[in-house]
Symmetry: C2
């Protein structure tokens, strides 16, 4: 492999961020969350997304690019209008990652509750 | 109000980031997600959190601070050991924000399905 090939791969690896990194990063901004919220109600054009936001159209386009890179949103251009849609499967990926950690934590407390209930049953039977 | 008071409030507003910004930002890093994953299995000390991570303890402490500032994790020091715990309610906040947008999007398709089913029923009855 040529040195150029290697350096391109290295550059790719350094630029690579796991899907969850990109998705959570995309959701960490109020303007981008407002765009996701709007898209939850149905597909929208870029100017519809920009309407409630107090920023330039080029700033909105940049935010849209972050959302698209993360996979949470996709868009397609028909004529002069770019229509954006949510990708529910990508949203579900982030949701499930969080839910799994929360449920694992909560299951600990359920088990603790069961152990405690058994213990109290034993105490009762001994009395 | 004095100019200093105003500038302090302005500075506070500029530094202020909404809880969801902080929580999603905290989740956008693989080391911090690994810490949340470990804490999902139960409380852990800082060195237990650091163990699987290939980084200095001070880097781990910095990541922990991001998690604590976001509210996703809290910690308390007893003697020389700092014990960290998940805050399931904070996890639930992020989970519910995402779920609401996904469900709103999916409900659109359910409604579309109902309209389509009604239309097909009408066509059938007319035949």
């Amino acid at each position: 492999m040529t040195g150029i090939g290697q350096s391109r791969i290295l550059k790719h690896m350094l630029n690579y961020r796991a899907p969850l990194d990109l998705m959570f990063h995309a959701l960490a901004d109020p303007a981008r969350r407002s765009m996701v919220e709007r898209l939850g109600r149905g597909p929208a054009s870029v100017s519809e997304l920009a309407e409630p936001l107090d920023m330039t159209l080029s700033a909105v386009v940049q935010h849209l690019q972050v959302l698209e890179t993360s996979g949470l949103v996709r868009s397609e251009k028909t004529g002069r209008v770019r229509t954006c849609r949510l990708e529910p499967q990508a949203l579900r990926t982030t949701e499930q990652w969080i839910a799994a950690r929360r449920q694992s934590w909560e299951a600990r407390f359920d088990r603790l509750g069961e152990v405690l209930a058994e213990f109290l049953d034993d105490v009762e039977q001994e009395e």
